[in-house]
């Protein structure tokens, strides 16, 4: 403001010196003085207006309270972006001159983009395994010692006041798949939590977990042998969960209906031959806090689906045979609240029974794992797991194994893990392997798994 005053004053002074007549000079001086006053008033008004705008902007950016008792700055109508009518298109009653551009608000629409993140899961293996060449996929014959096993892209957002949507796309070594993609209706009456789409089924614990939240580099043998491998029971369908009110504990019942195709390619768990061959999953979860620092989580699961083996290959209309799965799981967690970022323990076991109808009769297999993971520092975890499982197609074959795991977290967004795994296969020699994993996440901050 001061420089402007000086300039004005100089101009006025210069003007005065150049005027020959004193009276004329006086008139001129008055006129100039009026102009200066006018300029000053306009300048002050402008300054006040900008001050108000600046304060409002600062309050908005700083999240502070808006300044009290202020007159809101005049709001100019937003300028409508325009484009010229293309040459040759004018006339004949058509538009002329400038046309509005309706996509002008596109930049603002970015705020409705979903939360996005990508999680990379790099796996490696050393040691020999003659039975299972691919260390992370049973049945695969690719002896990949190093794998960019999975790049999981997630997109999550609220759809409308009644629902939210979650998509998890898995980019693997050999293609892309929708690991999960579902809409969740959050506001249905009757306390029902309903999901529609493709999802991991609520069968037991491990089946519902994504790779990056597992406490190991692989999945337990029982999941490979009886529950469809890494993909597990994961299918398109409906899920309805309801809390069962009671004064004692958290009790949730989940019912799910799927199309009926699940499991690894080549050795499916469920496979449909007819439209009516749906698969079903039922899960009951009971949870109770024992103390402020510890809790117990129990579950019982049932699943039924067709396995694609026809009753009579001469009459495919009769449909295919049925596989039934029963499971129970128990998880004990301990985490001292005041030191929750430094110490924790999770002990978990799952038992699964499989009854698979085949041409050679009913195969009844059973499998289980038990594991413990202890966090002994802010970044360090150690764990162990024991595996034991019959095979679904031949329950007389029993595989057993054990693992020791060490995990290091450079930060909340990356993880390095080493796992020693010994597997005693029913057929073939035992395998001793060292598996390692680098996991890293970019993008939106996801929720911590529980």
């Amino acid at each position: 403001m001061r420089p402007m005053r000086l300039v004005c004053a100089s101009v006025v002074a210069g003007g005065l010196v150049l005027e020959p007549s004193a009276a004329h000079a006086q008139d001129n001086a008055q006129s100039i003085q009026q102009q200066i006053d006018q300029l000053r008033r306009e300048f002050d008004a402008l300054k006040q207006q900008y001050d108000q705008r600046l304060t409002a902007l600062e309050a908005k950016l700083g999240g502070g309270p808006p300044p009290a008792a202020e007159t809101p700055p005049p709001v100019a109508a937003p300028a409508q972006p325009t484009a010229q009518v293309p040459p040759g298109a004018e006339g004949a009653g058509g538009p002329a001159g400038a046309l509005p551009v309706y996509g002008g608000a596109a930049a603002a629409s970015k705020i409705f983009n979903p939360d996005m993140a990508v999680i990379g899961d790099f796996l490696g293996a050393a040691g020999t395994n003659s039975v299972q060449p691919d260390p992370f996929a049973l049945g695969s014959n690719h002896p990949f010692p190093l794998q960019m096993h999975e790049s999981e892209a997630s997109f999550q957002a609220v759809v409308d006041p009644y629902a939210r949507a979650d998509f998890f796309l898995s980019f693997g070594e050999e293609g892309v798949s929708v690991e999960e993609g579902y809409v969740t209706f959050t506001s249905l009456p009757g306390g029902l939590l309903t999901r529609v789409g493709r999802m991991r089924a609520a069968f037991g614990k491990v089946n519902s977990l994504h790779n990056h939240v597992l406490p190991w580099t692989d999945r337990p043998i029982v999941n490979y042998n009886l529950v469809g491998g890494e993909d597990g029971i994961s299918d398109a369908g409906f899920s309805v969960a309801r809390l069962i009110p009671n004064p004692w504990l958290f009790l949730e019942a989940t019912g799910q209906v799927f199309r009926g195709d699940s499991g690894a390619e080549g050795s499916p768990l469920f496979q449909t031959t007819r439209r009516s061959e749906l698969s079903y999953v039922g899960h009951l979860r009971a949870y109770q806090d024992i103390t402020e620092n510890s809790n117990i989580d129990l579950g019982a699961s049932y699943s039924r689906g067709h396995n694609g083996l026809l009753f009579d290959s001469a009459s495919p209309d009769l449909g295919s045979r049925v596989t039934q799965l029963y499971g129970v799981d128990a998880t004990f967690r301990w985490r001292p609240l005041q030191r929750s970022i430094y110490h924790s323990f999770v002990g978990r076991t799952e038992w699964i029974w499989s009854r698979r109808d085949q041409e050679d009769g009913l195969q009844s297999g059973v499998g289980m794992y038990i594991s413990g993971d202890y966090q002994f520092g802010r970044r360090w975890f150690v764990g162990a797991r024991y595996d034991r499982s019959d095979r679904a197609t031949d329950a007389s074959l029993l595989d057993t194994g054990g693992s020791l795991v060490l995990t290091y977290w450079p930060s909340e967004f990356s993880q390095i893990r080493g796992q020693y795994r010994r597997t005693n296969y029913a057929l073939g020699s035992a395998a001793d392997e060292f598996l390692f994993q680098f996991q890293f996440s970019i993008g939106a901050h996801g929720a911590h798994p529980f």
């Binding site: 950016l61 999240g63 006041p161 958290f250 949870y287 030191r339 929750s340 930060s411 929720a447 911590h448």
Partner: protein, 311 residues
């Protein structure tokens, strides 16, 4: 006689029914932290029932999304959150599974307490995770300024009134009373801290910028090299050297952090390590929002006097 006996028999049932009706009339509120619950209690009085999810002595960034919290949220009419992504790691799945349309983000029962508060450390320019677990919307520990406490209380009173219009006068009267008491208390706290304005301190995490701004502390460094990243030897050494150079005699540590590195810094620099709760419930004595400042300011003033750090 028979009538009297019948009435006597019915009395407990009548009392029970009346109590139940009264209880039903109370606004059911859940707050994510004990600080918000304390302010909510000041404003809501006996017309609300309120409970907190995170305990004051646990790190509010890392709360487990336990199913028992779902049961609390299921019945809540109002959910008060700190916001600014403090609860991003655990609250979204709880809200989603609560099956409660009233408290979904954006619904009437969802109150983000940060909306009127003065927020510091809003990052400018490009933000990356190389900065650590940075909060892109600004520092979420804003309740540690009594001025923000008043703003939070005002928002809470408005929200309660929206749900219980008949109790509006009650909530407004309690808000006015809370504000008057907080004004008086704040004057006392400021007077206590006035002689020590500009005292330099180091803190473990970036939990105290609003507190420091209000009460005139100068935070010169952090034990964490970056938010959410545990201390490294090189950073600790740099901090020790800087503390010695600037003659810093106080290290503030939140109750949920390990004291090993702060104690090592204290031994090397001669600084006092203070476990200073940033939240109500952080230590046993701090049972409400007033006692939080009473405790923290007494702790600080004693330490400053002892070390002569304020001179």
């Amino acid at each position: 006689m028979k009538i009297a006996i019948r009435l006597a028999a019915l009395a407990p049932a009548i009392v029970f029914a009346a109590t139940a009706a009264f209880a039903q009339g109370k606004l059911n509120v859940v707050a994510t932290t004990e600080d918000l619950a304390s302010i909510g209690r000041e404003v809501g009085g006996d017309r609300i029932s309120i409970e907190a999810i995170a305990r004051g002595y646990q790190d509010p960034h890392f709360v487990e999304a336990k199913p028992s919290f779902i049961l609390k949220l299921m019945k809540a009419e109002v959910l008060i959150v700190v916001g600014k992504e403090l609860e991003i790691g655990w609250l979204p799945p709880l809200i989603q599974q609560s099956r409660n349309s009233k408290i979904q983000v954006g619904a009437d029962g969802y109150l983000d307490a940060s909306l009127s508060a003065r927020i510091l450390e809003i990052p400018t320019g490009q933000i990356t995770r190389a900065m650590g677990d940075v909060h892109p919307l600004g520092n979420p520990h804003y309740w540690l300024d009594p001025e923000n406490g008043k703003r939070i209380a005002k928002d809470i009173a408005d929200k309660f009134s929206q749900f219980r219009p008949n109790d509006r006068a009650y909530f407004e009267q309690r808000l006015a009373d809370f504000t008057t008491r907080l004004d008086a208390a704040e004057k006392g706290w400021l007077a206590k801290m006035a002689p020590y304005k500009g005292t330099k301190v180091a803190t473990y995490h970036r939990s105290f910028p609003n507190f420091a701004e209000r009460f005139g502390l100068d935070i010169m460094g952090y034990v964490e090299p970056r938010p959410g990243i545990p201390p490294s030897p090189q950073h600790t050494l740099d901090l020790i050297n800087e503390m010695k150079r600037q003659n810093v005699k106080i290290v503030l540590v939140e109750p949920y952090f390990d004291l090993k590195t702060p104690n090592a810094i204290g031994r090397d620099t001669g600084a006092i390590v203070l476990v200073m709760p940033p939240s109500v419930g952080g230590v046993k004595e701090v049972t409400d929002y007033f006692k939080l400042f009473d405790y923290d300011i007494n702790l600080l003033v004693d330490a400053i006097r002892k070390t002569g750090a304020g001179k």
